[in-house]
Structures are given as structure tokens and as C-alpha cells.
Symmetry: C2
Subunit: 345 residues, 2 copies
């Protein structure tokens, strides 16, 4: 199946001729531009496959584009991020763009290293997922290359954002637990001290949403937030603290599914049962939450849609839009499963 090395390279003109469309149409499909119908895309994609057309970055770079999109992911172990990534790669499938992930962005320094590396390699656009860097740093990246930020609130004239309505999501969880009869509902948050991040990070919004909803249900006295981290270890440590309270909570709202995993671990270790002794809810509706032996009540924040929206905005910026910047806010839904039930007492 290897084409002989001496064979002439297939060009966009060959693709257009084979698909019986214009080279402009082929180019539109490859750039993911608006105005290419699904039929047109299918036709061009078929010809590309049949002819074995492969874009040539060197040549394209001379025209000023590398057709490369960098995605910065903080933690490839968090099972929510593959959902976002699927939305991104799925939206770019029919285009000439290739996605490359910069892994291991656990902190401002690592984020700077990876984004500089992306800029340095002339990537056409960058999607930053849940970045923790300062606003100034994000704007520095966005001023160098078209940028969309996923999973962080706040707005900037320089980049677009796609986020979930985290206050609404937290309110759905508290409403569900209060509706089951729980009063002592505790929350595990990601520890945050930076004031800018306190205003923009999803974790801070979820903690705010939790507090607001507790007050709305007349449970102000029972507000109890433990701040650890959005990791399994964070959930484990947070739950250990909550389980030593004189009046143990009857329900725990973990800020992320991966945190809820740590809660389940600590609760099991303490010889308590879920949901018999304690109800547990997460956030993200990952495949882990849906996994039957876990069956975790969670909030679906539509990662796939977040990825799709980010690509749409990014391609639009790459095509030349500089302003206005866009903020897309998606509405979450609650997915009740077996880890939440009425309190036993």
C-alpha cells in the first residue's frame, strides 16, 4: 500500500479534478471554512482518500500557515478531557488541520513552556483547556496566535472562551440532594488563593454555586467546604477530613468526578456504604461515572459540545476575525445514578 517514492505528489488540483469541483471548493473543505456543504465535504474527502492526497506543510508554511492546532491539556488522567478532545478532533476530521496535544501542563510554568513551544513552531491556533495562568499570560499567548480558552470564565478582547455554567451545575446537584432530604451537604473544592483565578476558574464557580444554592434551600448553617485539589488524592483527603466531623455530612458534592473517586475510596476505607451511609455526587459525567460498578451521580457539562464550539471559534479567528471576542456558555444537566439516595437517618 506504500506509494512508490518516485510517483508525482498528488496536488489539490488533482483532488479538485477527481471530485469534479473547483480548487477553491477543495481549499474551503481543507480549511474547514464555512460554505462547504456536507455533500461537498464528503465528495472531496472521498477523492482525497482515493488519490492518497497529503498536504505538504513546508509549502503551506511559505503561504503562512502550518495547519497545526495545539491543544493544551492540564492532565490526561482526568477522564473529562477526552470528551473535549473528541469534540475538537471530530470537528477537524474533514479538514487539513492536525491536532497536537501538549501534555503535562500542571501549573503556570509548564503552561508557559508548552504554549511558547506551540507559538515557536508556528502553530495556527491554540486551544487551552482549563489553564491556570494569569490573564496577562493568556493574553500574551492570544496576541501571538489565535486562541480559544475552554473551561475558564471571564472575558478578554483577545481570546474567545467556551465554558459550562458551573453555578447552574452546582445548583442542580444541591437541588437534587436537598430534594432527597439531605441537609448536611458538604462540598470538596480545588484550593485556590489567586484572586483572578478565584473569579474565573470553574472550581471557584462551582463552590460559589454550591454556597448560593445551599442558602436558597435554607441550608446556610450546613455550608461546609473543604479545599483540596481536583484529583483523586484531593477527593480522598477531603473526604477523610469530612468523615471526622462531629456531625458527619450525609452527602458530599465533589467538584469533579475524579474527586468523587477519591471520596468513594475514603468512604469505603472507613467501612461506610454509598449511598446507605453517605451520598456522593461528582461533576463532568465522565465514562467513569457511567461505569456500572461505580454508577456515580454527576453533572453533564457536554465536553463534546465544548470542543466543537472551540473549534468553530478558532477557525473563525484563524480566518481573520479579531473582534468581537465570543463567550459561549453551555448549560449543564444532572445525571442521577446510584450513589445518591435519601439519607438513612
Amino acid at each position: 500500500m506504500e506509494p512508490p517514492a518516485a510517483r508525482r505528489r498528488v496536488t489539490i488540483v488533482d483532488v479538485a479534478r477527481h471530485a469534479r469541483v473547483s480548487t477553491t471548493a477543495v481549499s474551503k473543505v481543507l480549511r474547514g471554512a464555512y460554505g462547504a456543504s456536507p455533500e461537498m465535504r464528503a465528495k472531496v474527502r472521498r477523492s482525497i482518500d482515493e488519490l492518497g492526497y497529503r498536504p505538504h506543510t513546508g509549502a503551506r508554511a511559505l503561504r503562512g500557515q502550518t495547519y497545526t492546532i495545539g491543544v493544551m491539556l492540564p492532565d490526561i488522567r482526568n477522564p473529562f478531557f477526552p470528551e473535549i478532545l473528541d469534540g475538537i478532533t471530530g470537528s477537524l476530521e474533514d479538514t487539513e488541520y492536525q491536532v497536537f496535544l501538549g501534555p503535562g501542563c500542571n501549573g503556570e510554568k509548564a503552561e508557559a513552556r508548552v504554549t511558547e513551544a506551540m507559538i515557536d513552531r508556528s502553530m495556527d491556533g491554540i486551544v487551552m483547556v482549563a489553564p491556570v495562568s494569569s490573564r496577562a499570560r493568556l493574553e500574551h499567548v492570544a496576541s501571538a496566535v489565535p486562541t480559544v480558552v475552554i473551561g475558564r470564565h471571564g472575558s478578554s478582547p483577545l481570546y474567545d472562551t467556551v465554558a459550562d455554567d458551573d453555578i447552574e451545575g452546582a445548583s442542580l446537584v444541591v437541588g437534587h440532594l436537598a430534594g432527597l432530604g439531605h441537609r448536611r451537604i458538604a462540598h470538596i473544592d480545588h484550593h485556590e488563593t489567586d484572586p483572578a483565578r478565584l473569579a474565573e476558574m470553574p472550581n471557584a464557580r462551582r463552590a460559589d454555586g454550591y454556597r448560593q444554592a445551599m442558602r436558597a434551600h435554607g441550608l446556610e448553617e450546613s455550608i461546609d467546604v473543604v479545599s483540596t485539589s481536583y484529583t483523586q488524592e484531593g477527593g480522598y483527603e477531603g473526604a477523610k477530613q469530612l468523615l471526622t466531623r462531629p456531625h458527619r455530612p450525609t452527602a458530599v458534592f465533589a467538584g469533579a468526578d475524579v474527586v468523587a473517586m477519591g471520596v468513594l475510596e475514603a468512604v469505603g476505607e472507613a467501612g461506610l456504604s454509598v449511598p446507605g451511609d453517605i451520598s456522593v455526587a461528582g461533576y463532568d459525567n465522565t465514562t467513569l461515572a457511567a461505569f456500572a460498578p461505580i454508577s456515580l451521580t454527576s453533572v453533564d457539562q457536554a465536553g463534546h459540545e465544548m470542543g466543537r464550539n472551540a473549534v468553530r471559534l478558532l477557525l473563525d479567528r484563524i480566518a481573520g476575525r479579531h473582534r468581537p471576542s465570543s463567550r459561549v456558555m453551555l448549560s449543564p444537566t444532572l445525571v442521577p445514578r446510584r450513589t445518591t439516595a435519601p439519607p438513612s437517618s
Copy 2:
């Protein structure tokens, strides 16, 4: 913390002067070459951080290198791959190299697309994790750019391989289950028909190792292999088939932890308990296996070490080694946990 844009770019000469070492020494550290002591690396790294030195790809590309390493991952949902990735990024931390992941390589076509994109962007080296492409295709990639293949057996003069001794790993599982008193031990494999892959893929080796070990324990009559896929769904479907056998197996050896997750799901759905009614073992010793509420018996194939070895071989190839090619085979260990116990009958 943003350096003013007008400030002169920090060069390797500045770093050498600041660290009081030669520019050759700095260059060695940045290339991850042999002969730089840990003290030297720490000193240079400190100066790089203090001065805010950032390599400049454009300039370096003119010298023929982009200091970019591409890692092809088949499935970012498989919790084993982050272990390998940590080994790779950890080994490159003190160097000038940046790792980019090509996601979504679920099949030969996607693998071709991603590797071509990496070659096209002049990456210096490629690590392919568990590729399914033909040998000819792998050699095509390796003839274009230094390449190391992880998690696939067989050897080629053109690339190095790092793999786990999968036959030994399967034998550890069967030995453990047989030692507990099980006789009807079934195996769930990844369906494979291509003869080249049957000889080289870890899944095929594990199935072979299972058969060999069953014979060695006098359990030839009980050999029972279901071929689905190395995914959670594959484990679910495989277990569904096994549970309808007239003589149900008392133990299931799933070829990967992610497969074992699907088995646990199907067993629970059938109203059976683990390990009371049926023992379950996986392979990969992922964080999921170690997760207390799951506590899955598994085989540790040292993903971290695999990643480290791959980087060592790749840097060596980038530095100019063309032959001989190396094959590194790592020895697995068994990690018994709560999902395996003596059979109840």
C-alpha cells in the same frame, strides 16, 4: 512576569556564562546527550529558569533540528498510556525537546495520517505506542525519521522496540489463578486476524502466553478464549458470552485493565459477585486497578520504564545511531488484589 518584548533574546551563550559552564555543556544538557552529570544538568536548568531562556525553533530548524518529539497514542482513554507518557516527558524534562501527542490513532488510516503529519512538520523523532500498522508502514516512518516503537514485538533494522514480556505476564496471571484452585480460567483477547500483527501485537502474545500456561498447569481442556477488543465494551461483550457457557468459568483473565472494567460491569449486571462467584484479573496495573473500590488484580508492565527506555533509544538515534537496532524487553510483575480469590465451589 512577562519579559518586555523589546528585551534582547537570551541565548545559549548567556546561559553558559551564567551557569559558568561551556556552551558545549549547555548544548549537551539541552540535547539530552550522554556525558552531562546530574549536577551539570541542575546547574544549567537553574540558569535557564533564572534567565528565562527559551529555545528558538526557527533558528534551530535551520541547523536541521526542531527539538520536537511526536508521540502517537492509540487511545487517550486507556489509563495505561499516561504511565508511558509520564516516563517519556519525565526523561525529557531537562532537555530542549518538546513532546507533542498525536491523538485518536484508532486504526491504520489514522496512524498514517498522524505520522505523516509529524514527518511533514519535521519532528526530530517519533515514538509510536502500540501501533497496528503493517511492518512496511512502520519501516516507512522509521526511514523518514528516528523511530522507537513501544508495546509491539518483532524487530526491524530500522527502528527500536520497547515491550513487556507479555507471555511471562500472562503466565503470571494463570499461575496465580491456578494456584488459588481455579480450573475454568477464560481469557478475553483483542480480535486479530492479520498474520503480521498476530506475531507482534502484545494482545496476541498474551493470548499465546495464556494458552501455554494453561497447558503447563494441565488445564488444556479448559482453554477458552473470547476475542473482542481491548476496550471496556470489548470486556463487557466478552464477559456476556462467557457467562452464557454451560460451564461458566470461575475466573476471567482480561487482556487489559480497561477490558476488566467491562467484565466487572457485565458480572455485576448478571447479579454475580466478584470474587465470590467469579475472579477477575486485568493487565497494565493502571491507577484504576489500584483504585480501592475496584482493587483489581493486575500485571504491572512498568509503563514508566517503557517510556524512559524509549526516550533513551530515541535520543541515541537522533544523535546519529543507525544500527544496530535495539529491542528492550521488560519483565512484568503480578499485583494481586481483591478481585481474585479461591473458587467458591
